[in-house]
C-alpha cells in the first residue's frame, strides 16, 4: 500500500516536472505539499470543466431554444451546487490546516550545535560565504563595517573572527551530507535571493538583515546555487555557484585546507 502510494507520488513528481530532490528532510514536505495542492486543483478543474462542457452542449441555443429565467429551480440541483461550494470551502480551509503543520516543519530551524552553520552574503554578482572555523563561533559583525573587501561586516578587532573561514565570490561552497546546514543569508548591496533548487531552499538576501534558512542534504553531489531575485544586469550570471555536498570526512579535509581570516589553515568544527 505505502509502496503504491509512493509510486503515485513519484508519478506526480514527474508529471509536474518537479526537479530532483537532494534534501529529503526539509524538501519532501515541500514537494508533497505541492503535489497535494495540485491534486485538489486538478480535481476541481476536471469537475468544473466536465460540467462546463456539458452545459455548453446541453444548453446551446439550438438544443434549448427557450431559456429558463431562473435556471436551476429544482431544489435538487441547487443543493448539489451549494454542496459543491461547501466542499470547496472545506477543502480550501480544511486542507490548509494539516498543510501548515508541514509548512512549519520547513521553517523550523534545527539546533545550531547539531548543524553546519554558514553565513552567506550576496553581492552584485556573486556569492560569499563564511564558516565559523575551529571555535565554532563567528567573529562579531555589523553592517556598519561592511566595505567592498569586508562583505560580512566583520569586526576587525574581534578575536573570534580570526579562525573564521571566509570564501569570497566562491565557485563552490562545501557542506557535509546528512547533517542540517543553517545558512544565515544577507546581502551587502541590493536584494538577492539564495536558492538551491535541488535542496528546496530559498531565502531572500536582504541588506541590513541576516536571516536564517536551513536544509539537510541527503545525497552527495554538486548542486546549482541560483539568485532568484532581480538584482541588476548581472542577475542571470549570478547562477554560477555550486554547493558541493561531501561526506563528513571529505568535508573536514576540505575545511582544514582553507585559509582563515587571520591567516593559516582552517579546521573542522570539532
Amino acid at each position: 500500500m505505502t509502496e503504491l502510494y509512493s509510486k503515485f507520488l513519484e508519478f506526480f513528481h514527474n508529471l509536474l516536472h518537479l526537479p530532483v530532490l537532494a534534501a529529503e528532510k526539509n524538501g519532501a514536505p515541500v514537494d508533497h505539499l505541492i503535489i497535494y495542492i495540485h491534486w485538489l486543483m486538478i480535481a476541481l478543474f476536471i469537475g468544473w470543466f466536465l460540467y462546463f462542457v456539458y452545459c455548453l452542449w446541453r444548453f446551446n441555443a439550438k438544443r434549448n431554444p427557450k431559456a429558463d429565467h431562473a435556471g436551476t429551480k429544482s431544489h435538487m440541483s441547487s443543493y448539489i451546487e451549494v454542496g459543491v461550494i461547501v466542499a470547496e470551502l472545506f477543502i480550501l480551509i480544511g486542507a490548509a490546516i494539516p498543510m501548515w503543520a508541514k509548512a512549519s516543519d520547513v521553517t523550523k530551524i534545527p539546533d545550531a550545535d547539531k548543524a553546519t552553520v554558514i553565513q552567506v552574503v550576496g553581492q552584485q554578482f556573486a556569492w560569499n560565504c563564511r564558516y565559523p572555523g575551529k571555535d565554532g563561533k563567528f567573529g562579531k559583525q555589523s553592517m556598519t563595517f561592511v566595505t567592498s573587501d569586508n562583505p560580512f561586516g566583520v569586526d576587525p578587532n574581534d578575536p573570534d573572527g580570526k579562525d573564521d573561514v571566509p570564501k569570497t565570490s566562491f565557485a563552490e561552497m562545501h557542506v557535509p551530507v546528512n547533517k542540517p546546514v543553517i545558512c544565515y543569508v544577507s546581502s551587502k548591496d541590493v536584494i538577492h535571493s539564495f536558492k538551491i533548487i535541488a535542496m528546496r531552499v530559498t531565502q531572500d538576501a536582504i541588506p541590513g538583515m541576516r536571516i536564517p534558512c536551513w536544509f539537510e542534504p541527503s545525497k552527495t553531489g554538486r548542486y546549482q546555487i541560483n539568485c532568484a531575485q532581480l538584482c541588476g544586469n548581472g542577475h542571470s550570471t549570478m547562477s554560477s555557484g555550486f554547493v558541493i555536498v561531501d561526506t563528513q570526512e571529505d568535508y573536514d579535509k576540505w575545511l582544514a585546507a582553507q585559509p582563515t581570516a587571520g591567516g593559516g589553515a582552517g579546521g573542522s568544527l570539532e
Binding site: 530551524i109 555589523s142 556598519t144 541590513g208 538583515m209 541576516r210 536571516i211 536564517p212
Partner: protein, 114 residues
Amino acid sequence: MSDHSHSTEAHKHSPQEVSKHVKIYIGVFLALLVGTVVTVGLNAVHFDSIKLTVAIALFVAVIKASLVACYFMHLISEKKMIYVILGFTAFFFVGLMFITLSAYADLPANTVTH
C-alpha cells in the same frame, strides 16, 4: 429630473441654530489651543518612560483631531454614506499600520538586523 428634486428645500439653517453653532466653534477653537499648550507643556516635563510620553502626546492629538473632525467637519451629524466611506477607510488604514508593524515585530527566530 423631476423625481428627486422637489423633496429637498435649500440647505440652510436658521439663524438661531447658526449662532449656537458659532458658539461651539469658538469653544472648540479654544479647546484646541489649550490642547496644543498641554502637549507642549507635557513635553517639557520629561517623563522617564518614553512610552508614556508618546502615549500621552498621541492621546491629546487624537482628542484634538476628533474635535476638528466632529465639529469643524460636522462629522458628528453627518449622513450615513459618509460614515460608510470612512468606515472602509478606517479598516484599511488600521490594516496598513497594524499589519505592517507586526510584520516587523515577527521575524524568523535568530534573525539579525543591522
